[in-house]
Amino acid sequence: MGNRVQGSLVVMAVAAAIAAGAITWVTVTRTAGQATRPARTADGKPNFSGIWQTLGEANWDVQAHEARPGAVTQPGVFPYAYARVPAAPVLALGAAGGVPASLGIVEGDGEIPYKPEAAAIKKENGQHWIDRDPELKCYLPGIPRAMYMPYPFQIVQSTNKIQMDYAFANAARTIHLDKVNEPPADTGMGFSLGRWEGDTLVVDVTHFHGNWLDRAGNFHSDALHVVERFTPITPDAIRYEATIEDPNVYTRPWKISMPLYRHLESNAQLLDYNCVEFVEEFVYGHARKQQLVKHWEGETIIVDIKRKIPPVESR
């Protein structure tokens, strides 16, 4: 078969798929598993109810980045900055400890417009990832980070409230479309006020405490103000955009965008990732009477790595 014929078939298939998608979008009630899932809610809004997750490497680093040998690295045998090797804490994980490349989710040049002093903090954060990243301690990830962590979340969309429940740390937030008073204090997941602009759900989020945006040390302060926009691409994909403003840290507001994908498994459901229990050793291990990790110096964990190279035949 010639290339041109193949090409035409692809075009036709794509056109058919688009047409099918459009029809579905407008009229058809689809089903996933047991639940019926109309493209629009009873009050005519796009139907975002379901289980969602992003694809991509934003939680490793929201900025455009090349692949790295580890989330933390050390100088290799050669002194060049581009020839670093994994640092000891992630060394034993081999290829599973590396950071995949990504074009990032930051619009424009892929870079966050940090103030100079904030850029220095970001750099230092990255070098102290294991000590400083709130994710490793199972703390609430905040917004927008919860939206692109490698865990699913569920949207339960009603008329006056839209609930977002996250697998990670059992985190949750309510998007209020109705009138509510402000919370009395800062929050981990923010205070979300929503409104519809046509088919776009716009959510204004404030009342944060300082937090991280990813595992690379990108961060914000308690002055963070996020404006999110959820726009349907198809019934099973949402264009997620967020404008991020924090005059303490950035020189100007900046924007991220990525698609959110619907979990289409017929048995998809949110399972809890209750990591509080999993991090007890990480957080409190130094204060045990008999320590499980034998090398604590004060609050510093000293990790000795023993690794046996398996014989070739067992691989």
Partner: protein, 425 residues
């Protein structure tokens, strides 16, 4: 710095809202009778909290009497007011400034809900338990009784060398026979420390996080949640419930539960509609949870019915043939709360601010060090529970106000029925 002080400073730093919701009932408004959602399903949405003060189990004084007369309710309201007049108020000092009792009490009266502040009206029913008819939790199976005895023996062994228990028999020391330091101090407990057997804690030891109660580890927030404040949001196909500090999503589905090897702290929920009632079947609990003696075999059948604009009837049946001789059922009236107040704002951040657990562990290590250097008492003689809480009346009210958990004699507790009953969460 004093270990307890360190611990208490930490505790104070944990944001655990002792917000009292009881007087936030929404005012019924004319026309607010639409009890269906826009898509035609029964509408359970809103912010809800238990309407009346009713004990989980029927107290002995009400034996044989399912409901109180209006006169009896009025009398009990009056009695409570009298009690409230003499009880310590929020933030009130209950012991001389600077004493250990002062510190302990300062936390309790500042951060814990005052049982006499904005109280719920006293209900006519004498127990939340509607079945069995005696209003009591059915007898525990011999296996669970044995487990509780073993845990209790372990607990007493660790308390027998405690100095404070030689002087008084307050909450923590109840039933303790003074003796030498037990070799069991070096042993793990016979079972996972899931239940709060006595007071706040089970084990008078702070060797690691596992010696602490689930609420101190920020692992509480369990089902069934009986009467606690919660926010319900619905969509076709799912019901989300946001409790005080944790959430769950109930899928509306006829599909079977997740495989039995998947265990969760809050189980696996499956909902369906029966007329106007949301029926939720919950299984697959973790062996690390404990509700009134039931662990991984707990099976809940919850029924949520909107009976009028301002009321949800919540009925939950507990089944576990390995824990109780028969199933039992609780019925609670939930009243709509003023949702604009946003009073639900109590997100799952207990762990984020849990300086208390860290400081209590560090404090215990400081005790170990002081003892090793001959500068302090043997930690085996020290009390890490609630010994010496100054005001016996206050101690008594704390014990009585505490829901859930098993009583010290191994029988299920009489309680106010606030879920697992962990005001310290």
């Amino acid at each position: 710095m004093n270990k307890r002080l360190l611990a208490l400073l930490g505790v104070a730093a944990v944001v655990m809202a002792a917000v009292v919701f009881m007087n936030l009932e929404a005012k019924p408004s004319a026309g607010d009778t639409a009890l269906k959602t826009a898509w035609g399903e029964p509408d359970l949405q809103g912010l809800w909290a238990q309407k009346y003060q009713i004990p989980l189990q029927r107290p002995a004084r009400d034996a044989g009497k399912e409901v109180l007369t209006d006169a009896e309710v009025a009398q009990r309201e009056a009695d409570r007011e009298k009690q409230a007049a003499t009880a310590p108020k929020r933030g009130e000092r209950i012991a001389p400034r600077g004493t250990l009792e002062d510190l302990t009490g300062a936390y309790d009266t500042t951060f814990e809900a005052d049982p006499f502040e904005n109280p719920r009206p006293i209900g006519h029913r004498t127990s939340l338990i509607a079945d069995p008819p005696d209003g009591r939790i059915p007898r525990l199976t011999p296996e669970v009784q044995q487990r509780m005895r073993e845990m209790r023996e372990f607990q007493l062994a660790l308390m027998q060398s405690v100095e404070a228990c030689k002087k008084s028999q307050d909450i923590a020391c109840f039933g303790v026979k003074p003796g030498p330091v037990s070799p069991r101090r070096a042993e793990p407990p016979p079972y996972y420390v899931a239940a709060q057997i006595m007071g706040d804690r089970v084990v008078n030891r702070a060797d690691g996080p596992e010696d602490f109660g689930l609420s101190e580890r920020c692992l509480s927030g369990q089902l069934p949640n009986i009467g606690g404040v919660h926010q319900i949001v619905q969509s076709p196909g799912a019901v989300s419930i946001l409790y005080e500090g944790w959430q769950r999503v109930i899928p509306i589905t006829t599909s079977p539960h997740v495989p039995s090897q998947i265990r969760q702290w809050r189980g696996d929920s499956r909902g369906h509609w029966e007329g106007n009632t949301l029926v939720v079947d919950v299984t697959n609990f973790s062996a690390k949870t404990d509700y009134q003696g039931s662990r991984e075999n707990l099976h809940l059948i919850e029924r949520f019915t909107r009976v009028d604009a301002n009321t949800i009837e919540y009925v939950v049946t507990m089944e576990d043939a390995t824990a109780w001789e028969k199933p039992w059922t609780v019925e609670v009236e939930m009243a709509a709360q003023d949702a604009t107040a946003n009073a639900i704002y109590d997100e799952p951040r207990c762990h984020d601010g849990n300086i208390a657990l860290k400081n209590m562990l560090i404090g215990a290590r400081m005790d170990d060090k002081a003892y090793a250097e001959g500068k302090g008492p043997d930690p085996a003689t020290m009390c890490y529970l609630l010994c010496g809480t100054g005001n016996p009346e206050y101690a008594k009210s704390r014990m009585e106000g505490r829901g859930g958990g098993a009583a010290i004699d191994g029988t299920p507790a009489s309680s106010s029925g606030r879920g697992q009953g962990s005001p310290g969460r």
